[in-house]
Symmetry: C2
Subunit: 179 residues, 2 copies
């Protein structure tokens, strides 16, 4: 597949904000032509499938400003500098839903946005949960939404859940948990 | 869920490139605090699950510069200005794999990147395919990769396919086609 590769010639940081870091690179295409590629550099994120003591899955409702909608999602969060994705999974689980997990299992890695972002997401099954307390960020607004796995899967196939990490996490979790 | 809503106060275009259009808005949080939200405006995209006359699924291999990897994906493409997602599905199918479909069925809509992009993707099952000719963009490099649906699903669960639209499209297609 080496004849598909695009080679970096130069890279320029176009914008660096609080969240977004935008780059524009000159790249050489396989036919020798030169073009530009614009993309976001992202630290990556961990996504957790929290299995509550009664077997329900803890989903959350969160307003997503770019699409102007409240979304039903699995808890997730960005890697802090120097943090491993396992550490992020532990931290974000407690911050967002107020539980710690004594059994975190990495299921897979996904790329949500290969056209214009280098973001990678690691999906974890979070079992053996223990209630602590929610350490939600001061300006983070989240509503807890526990549902049965069966109901969650119904919401995937009905289109009610349209967030990609949540669709994939739930289908993956269902495959593991129902086998 | 109205108590989760964030209200726009102002919006500024930070960067407008060939592909990326970056905005920074001031928004009012549910607690009255004001913060900023940075995000990409995207025209949306159509994703196609092409079922070849022999039953195989036509996947493609494409180098994805932001992640520096050649990825196995379903054919897909961005909406052109004024184009419906159905028109995009027809156009991109022919451009990328050289087939037209006489039976395009919309399966679902997904949001790949709700944290920092308004992108929406429409997934289509593309059946009753007819060979025309590939009208690939001059500087687009794609390798065709036809596989059985069974093999494609194996590649999802093994992690070999990590692109979200492709994972969701294949699992959705499998649910429809094998029922």
């Amino acid at each position: 597949m080496s004849d598909l590769i695009e080679k970096r010639q130069s890279s320029t940081k176009i914008y660096s904000g609080r969240l977004l870091h935008v780059f524009k690179d000159d790249v050489e295409l396989p036919n020798g032509h030169v073009t530009t590629r614009e993309y976001i550099k992202h630290p990556g994120a961990a996504v957790m499938i929290p299995v509550l003591p009664d077997g329900d899955i803890m989903l959350i409702k969160q307003f997503r400003y770019p699409i102007g909608m409240t979304h039903i999602e699995l808890p997730a969060g960005k890697l802090d500098p120097g943090e491993s994705h396992l550490e992020t999974a532990k931290r974000e689980l407690e911050e967002e839903i107020g539980y710690k997990s004594n059994k975190l299992t990495e299921l897979t890695e996904i790329h949500p946005c290969t056209g214009y972002s280098d973001e990678k997401m690691w999906i974890y099954l979070a079992e053996d949960l223990e209630k602590t307390q929610s350490n939600m960020d001061h300006d983070e607004f989240i509503e807890l939404f526990p549902v049965s796995l069966e109901k969650a899967i119904t919401m995937v196939w009905s289109g009610e859940i349209s967030d990609v990490k949540t669709i994939i996490g739930l289908l993956w979790g269902n495959r593991i948990l129902s086998s």
